[in-house]
Symmetry: C2
Subunit: 372 residues, 2 copies
């Protein structure tokens, strides 16, 4: 296979391991920062190297529109275009497309471009071809992503069409060094999640994503659907929860056997002045930080951000200085990378439940985990 | 003296040397990036360390309004607030204030705050006190900065009042490790420039600035006024041209005996997509760069920016990704630092005129330097 996963430790259903591709290795669990258009907002590629995420996500839909997949291929592919030697995962465009109220047919999705209003067609085959031009290390199949809550009949149709598109995507994929992941759908319907997972696994992909669970559902309905899906997915293939970035969500996903996540949340929050810390979310614009000489998270020293005080950041935020968003972006990404590393270590040392309880108490005080 | 300058070489009127303060040394000529509110836009302090400017400018007016000089003093001063161990120069607020249509009296300037519209008073003594709270290495006196063109009578009054304010500023300054610079005014009137310089030198400062020459005059009228002022300034004190950042302006200022400059131009241009290069200014948004795989300036390799192609930057610019402004800011500041270093080396090697001609031919083709 193009990509392999060695599960080195597990604790309950949580697991820690090493994923290997032609490009190198990735320790799991892993959070993937989002570089929508080939850049993580406010950072450049050298910043990413200093932060050290082993893998970054880029958005197929945005890149196929601007600057275009052909242009990126001409420039040597997305890695070379960005100057990035680490791993890249490209989504299929499905998530963006389904926010644009597309017309769905057996063939694919038709929708209006967010850039110029023109009609764009995205088929499973085109999503494969575009991602091959981008040259990402991991490509995703085009799926039908349904906003929740949704009627069971709608979810049923989405599962069926997603499976048929997955078959076509697998056919269309030329392989080489690029891995391809299938996507499990089914909303919060446990039996549909199981069926979607079984049928996707039957096609056979390098890894499997759980999609459509960050689109409106409550956590109490999300966890059973997630657990149902991961219960069916093969143990030796990576499992990726799409669009998850809050600490409690992350620890619950890991508790249910997930290895990979991505989300714009930590970077978007950062640009709006909100930091992730051991005390929970801090809105650094708050007046109470005006004379606070401590670093963003006194319990987390990181060389890229710990010299800057809350007072300094508050000043930069209230005066709209772009430097603030940059520093908090560096912090939030470093903090989440540390959180996932701590989860991996806790799994290896058989104390994952203690860390899970700690994260719940800092981030959702008074609440408790749902039975996994 | 708090600050000394050793002129180590000269070529015509151009000079290269080393400035020494309690904090360390600065090789001249030197360009000072502008960190208006305690940050260079899109960069953080670690970026400045990697870029390596020995001195950065911050704006007294903006910092006294937000977050306030008392708060910064409470946080240990501006160096500690920013996390910056290099030199800081603070302007006096004069330049900002005079764009706010102030009411001027013998006592000082009264004007409306850009932040909340309230009335603010800035006197020479208050400008000194605020800069002492900020704890910069070099403080500037409050001056009367006249927009050009201006009537001779207006310039005459501005010179007189600037001198009286300079006397009060020198009295008010407590010294210590903070150097204080006087400012020469007089518009483009050569005799007023000479008089202003003589009277300011008679007061006795650690260094001297030439102010009010980046406020509307043409280069052909600027150079004689500049030359008249620097002709009078003592050879063993640094000379600072306020608000100058274009390559031809820089080389002409150095040709006329200037050691220091600052300007928002290289950073502001960068955020709008314009790069400084050996070919002149490049607007990287231009379609002709869409497939240009070369770095910003193929003749200037800098480790912070030379991995990024023009095609990549054009893509980030046209999609409004903030990363673009950051990369071009790094490039423009590195490029200008290199230009000033090349000027210093050329002076030391007795070939300044050749470099001057080279800069003119790249940046103002067809024009020639004015007699120095």
């Amino acid at each position: 296979m193009t990509l392999s996963l060695l599960v080195e430790a597990s604790d309950g259903r949580a697991r820690a391991g090493t994923m290997t591709t032609a490009r190198g290795t990735i320790r799991t669990p892993v959070f993937m920062p989002v570089g929508t258009r080939g850049a993580v907002k406010t950072l450049d590629t050298m910043d990413l190297e200093r932060l050290g995420p082993p893998i970054v996500l880029a958005n197929t839909y945005h890149l196929m529109e601007r600057p275009g997949a052909d242009l990126i291929a001409e420039m040597g592919g997305l890695h070379r275009f960005m100057g990035w030697d680490g791993h890249l995962l490209t989504d299929s465009g499905g998530y963006q497309v389904f926010s644009l109220e597309p017309k769905i047919s057996e063939r694919g999705a038709t929708f209006r471009s967010v850039y110029d209003g023109s009609y764009v067609e995205l088929s499973p085959e085109r999503a494969v071809a575009v991602q091959e031009l981008l040259g990402s290390d991991i490509a995703m199949v085009l799926d039908v992503c349904t906003a929740l809550p949704a009627d069971r009949a709608v979810l049923r149709d989405a599962v069926d069409l997603t499976v048929r598109w997955a078959e076509r995507s697998r056919q269309a994929h030329s392989g080489g060094d690029q891995a391809q992941f299938g996507i499990v759908q089914g909303g919060v319907e446990v039996d549909l999640r199981v069926e979607s997972a079984e049928r996707t696994v039957a096609i056979g992909f390098d890894g499997y994503a759980v999609g459509g669970l960050s689109v409106g559902e409550s956590r109490s309905r999300m966890v059973p659907a997630l657990a149902a899906a991961t219960g069916v997915l093969p143990a030796d293939r990576p499992r990726y929860f799409m669009g998850l970035g809050d600490p409690v969500g992350l620890v619950e996903a890991v508790a249910n056997g997930i290895d990979m996540f991505d989300c714009v949340l930590p970077t978007r929050l950062a640009r709006h002045g909100t930091a992730l810390t051991g005390e929970g979310r801090l809105n650094l614009k708050n007046l109470r930080f005006a004379r606070d000489d401590r670093p963003i998270d006194p319990g987390f020293a990181h060389p890229l951000s710990d010299r800057y005080s809350r007072a300094y950041l508050r000043h930069l935020l209230v005066t709209n200085e772009p430097t603030a968003g940059r520093i908090i972006t560096l912090h939030n990404l470093a903090w989440l990378a540390d959180l996932t590393a701590r989860m991996g270590l806790a799994i290896r040392e058989g104390r994952f439940e203690a860390l899970r309880a700690e994260i719940w108490s800092a981030w959702a005080p008074g609440e408790t985990p749902h039975p996994g």
